[in-house]
Amino acid sequence: MSGQDNNEYDAKQIPTVQKVIAVLWPSFLTAGVATILFFAYFDPQLLMQISGYGNISRMAGYTIGFFLFWLLTSVTCVISCYFQRPCEKDKH
């Protein structure tokens, strides 16, 4: 991400650890909820068979499903964090 130079508020005041957590942690939680909800109704083994991707074990299905959800939700978090930065002010 660019824009660190004209954005002193973000770069200086919030510790890196908090920024990383702000992306990875809420997305982890929502990905967990999504995984539980999704796989409570859909069996990954059946889904893969129906869609013609061959046989995978359920554990593999849950794991891959969870990480895909996490990828998706963390992308959302990254975008949210990006948009939360103050808009560029007038250049002096």
Partner: protein, 465 residues
């Protein structure tokens, strides 16, 4: 704790300084004993529970590969998802209730973050020594001694973390098989992955992140102040009694030296796992662990002063008022909790471990047979959620003179299995009063007549003018 105060504190420079390692000093006392007791019960339960057997299966097993949850004699299926949702609602309400009543009890005594951190701190103390020895060791240059201490500490942490990860996976796949596979070094790739993933999370959170988890990651820590009121138990320093603080000799009365009871020994700061000074008033970082109460009481004892300079109290009590326990907030939370819990227990008690699904053929609304009858096709799905196999009888009613053609007369379903089969229903058009008519499907077990479910379906015929 007012939200304004919290907001103001979040923006102080101090919060954004580079993270400094906190070395909590070991503490003994009443509340420390409660916490250790909690650790033994909670972690003991966590590590032992998956090894318990019940009726020939693991007592508590969330068998993800088989899509079945066993909790002692109960078996849950994905169709029972509602129970899990209700259970989570109950957990959340219980958290609200106890927070309103007694503040951050959860954080100080029961949160996995607190509990595992305590164990990691205990290992750290066993290997590196007391708080002062740890600080000295960290400041010293890297010697062989330092390297060996650090290596030993991390090895022990990693071992405990991996064991934690193994136990975690043992809740989701049968732990006895997992143990055998582990001994034979024959674990599947996904099991191995989750053992390491959960182990890594434990090591990182309890070994490295510690109080930062509470401050930056925990959503509860951020919103718990909303559940506080003036009658909620909080840990507070008695400023009126303690100030002006200052050191003095033992058994010297505070008044004689013109000081308050606080001897400014800073032990309350040294024991704090989040590194705050309770004497500065209530702070959102305080997890309510009461370590400062324990240590201050020891000091007060040594000085010959009254205990409870730092204590559990309420804002009302501090202002000289009376603490009200039974207040609307508490009563409402309690009634909600009681209502939902009773509803859950009741619905579990009357739960019938049998499910019937009726799926209409999607290809055609209806078909006319050679004899001029109107035919509808259905797929019947029978799910036996009981632990025994059962045989069932299906009856359909709703339309006069209907013919049910079922090519599977014996509906036998093993425990935990799903049987689906097609049936066809034929009706003489003269008996059709409406285009769409309701049908009632009854499924009853011949082995146990209590297992009886009803479902409704639709019969669709030609337009009737």
């Amino acid at each position: 704790m007012s939200s304004k105060k919290v907001a103001a504190e979040v923006v102080t420079d101090e919060s954004y300084a580079k993270h400094e390692k906190i070395y909590p000093r070991q503490v003994h006392g009443l509340f420390a004993t409660f916490r250790v007791l909690g650790i033994f019960i909670l972690l003991g339960g966590y590590y032992i529970a998956p090894w318990l057997q019940w009726d020939g299966h693991q007592a508590i097993l969330f068998d993800l590969p088989a899509r079945k949850f066993y909790i002692f004699s109960l078996t849950f299926w994905p169709q029972d998802f509602i129970y899990l949702a209700v259970l989570l609602i109950i957990a959340a309400l219980a958290l609200f209730f106890f927070t309103a009543l007694a503040g951050r009890l959860w954080c100080g005594y029961a949160c996995p973050q607190t509990v595992w951190t305590e164990v990691f701190l205990w290992i750290e103390r066993k290997v590196e020594g007391s708080r002062n020895q740890q600080i000295k060791l960290d400041k010293s240059p890297l010697t062989k001694f330092k390297f060996l201490r650090k290596a030993l500490k991390h090895s022990l942490w990693i071992l405990l973390s991996l064991w934690t990860g193994f136990t975690f996976v043992g809740y989701f796949t049968p732990i006895l098989e997992l143990g055998v596979k582990f001994v034979q070094l024959n674990l599947g790739p996904w099991e191995t992955f989750w053992i390491f993933f959960y182990g890594f999370a434990t090591y990182g959170n309890a070994g490295w992140m510690r109080e930062q988890v509470c401050i930056y990651m925990c959503p509860y820590a951020r919103f718990q102040s909303a559940m506080f009121d003036n009658d909620t138990l909080v840990i507070s320093y008695d400023e009126a009694r303690g100030e002006p603080r200052g050191s003095r000799k033992r058994n010297v009365a505070s008044e004689s030296v013109g000081l308050g009871d606080c001897v400014d020994c800073t032990l309350c700061v040294q024991v704090c796992p989040t590194g705050i000074d309770i004497r500065q008033g209530m702070q959102y970082q305080c997890i309510g662990c009461a370590a400062c109460i324990d240590v201050c009481n020891q000091v007060m004892d040594k000085m010959g002063y009254r205990k409870n300079l730092v204590r559990y109290t309420t804002l009302n009590a501090m202002d000289g008022g009376k603490t009200k326990i039974f207040r609307p907030r508490i009563i409402i939370y309690f009634l909600l909790l009681l209502g939902i819990t009773s509803a859950l227990i009741y619905s579990m008690a009357i739960r019938i471990p049998l499910e019937l699904d009726i799926i209409r053929d999607r290809n055609a609304l209806y078909r006319e047979t050679n004899e001029g009858l109107i035919e509808n096709i259905y797929t019947i799905k029978v799910i036996n959620m009981d632990l025994q196999p059962h045989q069932y009888i299906l009856t359909v009613s709703g339309i006069e003179g209907m013919k049910v053609i079922n090519k599977v007369p014996e509906i036998k379903v093993n425990s935990g299995e799903v049987l689906d089969f097609p049936i066809s229903i034929q009706v003489d058009p003269v008996n059709l009063k409406k285009t769409t008519q309701k049908l009632k499907f009854d499924l009853i077990s011949t082995t146990n007549p209590k297992l009886h479910v009803e479902e409704s379906g639709r019969f669709i015929g030609p337009l009737i003018r």
